[in-house]
């Protein structure tokens, strides 16, 4: 058995140690908010936080994250109250929504490190996350909006 710390909970799984974290989250732990998009760290749909850093769970073996603090979209907040989630709602970012868990996790990791990102910072942090619906302009605006929300008291 492998013991993982996910969204603040200690969870056990019988998954093989060489299973990508993505599939352990989705199939073994039932956390399907994290999405499969490419399997090769090319699209960002599977982005989660490992010790706070945006991490592609599709290429991260579960054995490598034992003892680390894993956070998924389900654990970003209990009630969609994270500033990034609030900004995403306010600006109506999602279309099909499939990539948005990854976008939100990438954006929240960026803002945790850099509370006032420039457009260039956003380009660098977000270029690994593909959206085929083309929500990029709203993602950019929503990251700036989330930065504002954090400044005005929503910091976490």
């Amino acid at each position: 058995m492998i013991t993982l710390k996910v969204n603040g909970h200690t969870l056990e799984t019988d998954a093989s140690p060489d299973t990508p974290l993505l599939w352990v989250l989705r199939d073994h732990l039932g956390l399907t908010g994290t999405k499969f998009g490419c399997g090769k760290s090319l699209c960002g749909a599977c982005t989660v936080h490992v010790d706070g850093a945006a991490t592609r769970s599709c290429v991260t073996l579960v054995s490598n994250v034992v003892g680390k603090d894993i956070r998924t979209i389900e654990g970003l907040s209990a009630d969609r109250s994270h500033p990034v989630q609030k900004a995403w709602l306010e600006l109506e970012v999602p279309q099909c929504g499939y990539c948005q868990s990854g976008q939100i996790m990438a954006a929240s990791a960026l803002l945790a490190q850099n509370p006032t990102p420039t457009d260039a910072d956003i380009d660098t942090a977000m270029q690994g996350n593909i959206c085929r619906c083309g929500t990029y302009p709203r993602i950019r605006a929503a990251i700036h909006r989330a930065a504002e929300l954090m400044k005005t008291g929503g910091a976490r």
Partner: protein
Amino acid sequence: MSARNLDHPDAPTALDRREFLKVGALAGGGLVLGISLAGCSKPAELAAKSVAGGQPVAWLKIAGDNTITILVDKSEMGQGVYTALPMLLAEELDVPLKAVKVVAAPAAAPYVNVFLGTMITGGSTSVREAWGKLRTAGAQARAMLVGAAADEWKVDAATLKVADGVVTGPNGQKHTFGELAEAAAKRPVPKDAKPKDPATFTLVGTAQPRVDTPSKLDGSAEFGIDVKLPGMKYAALAQSPVLGGSVKSVDSAAAEKMPGVVKVVTTQSGVAVVADHYWQAHTARDALKVTWDAGPNAHLDTAGIQTGLKAARGTPLSARKDGDAAAALKAARKKVEAAYELPLLAHATMEPMNCTADVRADGCDLYVPTQVQQIAQGTAAAAAGLKPEQVNVHTTLLGGGFGRRLEVDFIPAAVEASKAAGVPVKLIWTREDDMTHDAYRPPAYDTGTAGFDATGALTGVHIKLTSPSITARMFPPVVEGGKMDPFAVEAAANFLYDVPNVAVDYLRHEVGINVGYWRSVSHALNCFVVESFMDEVAHAAGKDPYEFRRALLGKQPRAQKVLDEAASRAGWGQAPAGRHQGIAVMEGYGTYLAQVAEISIEQGKMKIHKITCVVDCGHKVNPGIVDQQISGGIVFGLSAALWGEVTLEGGKVRQSNFDNYRVLRMHQMPELDVHLLDSTEAPGGIGEPSVAVVAPALANAVFAATGKRVRALPLAAAGLA
């Protein structure tokens, strides 16, 4: 699918001819409204049929506890139908959008897309098709609820007021819809209930928040790939690497010994490995030893496909004939001729193909992100050895559609695997499976010929399109007897410019692999050809490309207006030093739009600074969603124009994932200026048209910048991207 022209659909006559609504009582009290089933004229019959498979057939359910449920017959794939369609009903019912619950309709005859003849989410038809039928349904339901109250209170129905789901009488009497639902359900459907005058709308036309947004922010939205059933197993599928190939033999001994593997099943689509968990199935798939019969495509490659299209001969079908283009071109003093080539393209939805099937002896539940519920139902039934009515289709959210989920190629293997394993099975394709087994956008070889007379007037234009037919495979009756595929000549047959002699011809030439409907279908191919060619013609005439177009659009006021507005907003002719502009205009799906691309060339590569897009899509049900779709369509068009190209070698697709099939990313995003005109015209489609205008606007800007005419996409192939 009927051969109806999607660009100019009539009113939904198929429904108008028969009684529109039937009504039935909900068990436990309440109102069910639905379109009449063929051969079923009595409410009782409807009520009986409507609960087949436990899924009520209706648009609307108002329960005694005031719960209002709206069934949406179109798939939510990001284009906002779960919001826009309920808005049409809620407007007529005078209930706020947040008061209604939205659920996916089952596969059933009442939900047939009357533009297309089967349940289809496609062709940018959702709002256009719903505009009449859902508003009428809402008006009828409202009249029945009001009528029930008027009878009880013995007052004239005209004296009652409705707001927020409450009917109020002249003396202040009040009833909620829920309280009235049972009595309303016993009333006949009013034939004279008229939908509201659009001028009086209070909900429709406002940028209501999408009902699906919250669930897409916390991981709770359920896509097909997220379905979980008790006892469910997972499957991975090995498919022939050569398109059209099949399994010759399989040695599954090693795979069957791998951890978690439950069963290996040879299906009509390839070899499915069923395991306790997906990663186990995926890993065991690599241990299969499959010998493939490559089939007829073992030597197919891209160059051969393009050569074949170019060399295709035969008598083309006429899609448009004004005057005598051949004679005008023969008599012309000056001619312009050009040929254009379009590549195969993949859809690359973010959610790879997947399907969950639960096959039992007496039925099957299918959980599937699909754009075609009835075709999915029939396909699953055939694979399971059941009757279609024994298959319940549960439409999940779609992680992108773009036409890919009009295909049902990912369904049979899930059904066959579930049947063989005796448990529910979720089959998931990898990105590589998806990229290498798509139904690709058709390639094309197209030509334009134009002629000027001695006075310099443009007297004739001939566009000849050569491409394979999607519809011939998907809906063969439409093209039976050599008839035109209407989905091959869009944005060409409706040639907008006022030229006395116009011919648009289409030659069908098959290329050996399946081609599919891809967001904006042939608009994307033909708009590139027509708008690139008209740019060439403008330059040959020594005219400014905007002014030249404008002068020929005098009889197309909506097209002329979007062109003018786009030129004005983009500052046409006033680009900063070093920047260059290209322009293009189109009518598609009843929507008119023009785009101006502003670019510069830096070290031989194109940098896109800004895309200006002006749209007249008639009435906007939800302007926020329209903006999303137009903007998103431009991004989709940019990816295709810059890099989109699927190539074949030995019948195998060379592209496999997002490293070698590039799509636009955040840092490559130009500035967008999307402007939606106010309009009281009937709603036009908004999911697709903006995709098509991007490539010609860009290619025309490249010509303005370099004097080099790009006649083959993608632009990367010309070294520009």
